[in-house]
Symmetry: C2
Subunit: 162 residues, 2 copies
DNA sequence: AGAAATAGGGATATTTTTTGTCCTTAATAG
DNA sequence: CTATTAAGGACAAAAAATATCCCTATTTCT
């Protein structure tokens, strides 16, 4: 069970978009080139962000993506779920229903105990992701990325932002 | 990203094995029949439990599986990891290394910040699973499964345990 | 000794998911 | 009018999940 690589891509892209000046847009092409990713496929991840309402888009030359809200209002969970979906990581197929000792028409009232426990763990994972904001990531990056690289990257993005 | 169905199977099988009297064994055949699962494939999940040292096995008629330790000493995490593996759910492909602004030979000192955050969430998931023991599950099941069904199931298993 | 049942594990097949490419359409900027 | 963009559908390739089949060594029972 491994998350799609698109999750990683989306998070890094959002980090870049977080640094974009107000009202400007960055294209799939620029984001793909910056991260060394296949443009067409990255596009699917960005479309997921768009459909989830996390980013705004514009068409035409100088078009592209920008965040739909402030980095402090955008959580990791929102980004992860936009790409990966909201279905729980544990799926209960209710195999207890196959127990040969059960009465034929017997119907369960509560979800399976195994599933409930697994879902609690799933929730713990989501709680953690919900507690981290995009702005937290940007703060960390600003601290640990060498300032010259940080500046050059910022400049690189600005030159390509519509 | 969804866990293998074998995880569900392994958890349910361990719950059954937890009720097995000291020194007795239950076969793949019985476990598969009880849960309505494909015997050959379930066998792979049980082999994973065996390789992880969570269960003991014996060969021959009356052979099968029993827990290698008390249900109170066996955590959900151990079972899940035995089947699903111990690799983290988020894999970092270090796409920051593709940044065109980086100096050619530049080498990162710390893991990517995005990965660190995702791994923390992964740890939260594992922490939760580690906090639940197989005996906790058995307690819950004992409470919510109708007592006649519980007894019949126990009997069913006993009749097939070697 | 022989027959039957078992776990272990290798080989293979099928299905689903992930990853990726290609192309068309509508919108936008210059 | 042209170039560029996002959106999205169709399709292809690769990887992973889900099986199935078969052989071997071991154990139990007769």
């Amino acid at each position: 069970m491994i998350l799609k690589s698109q999750v990683e891509w989306a998070l890094h892209c959002c980090a870049i978009l977080a640094g974009l000046p107000e009202g400007r847009y960055l294209s799939t092409k620029a984001l793909a080139e910056f991260h060394g990713l296949p443009k067409e496929y990255l596009s699917k991840a960005l479309q997921s962000l768009s459909q989830a309402g996390l980013v705004h888009t514009t068409l035409g030359p100088s078009g592209g993506y920008r965040l739909a809200k402030a980095p402090a209002e955008l959580t990791f969970l929102e980004i992860v779920e936009a790409v990966e979906g909201r279905t729980r990581t544990f799926v209960c197929t209710n195999i207890r229903a196959n127990n040969p000792c059960r009465a034929p028409g017997y119907c369960d009232e509560t979800p399976c105990a195994v599933a409930r426990i697994m879902w609690e763990a799933d929730e713990a994972w989501r709680d953690k992701l919900r507690s981290v904001r995009l702005s937290d990531l940007v703060e960390i990056l600003a601290k640990e990325i060498p300032s010259d690289l940080w500046k050059r990257s910022f400049q690189w993005v600005l030159e390509r932002a519509g």
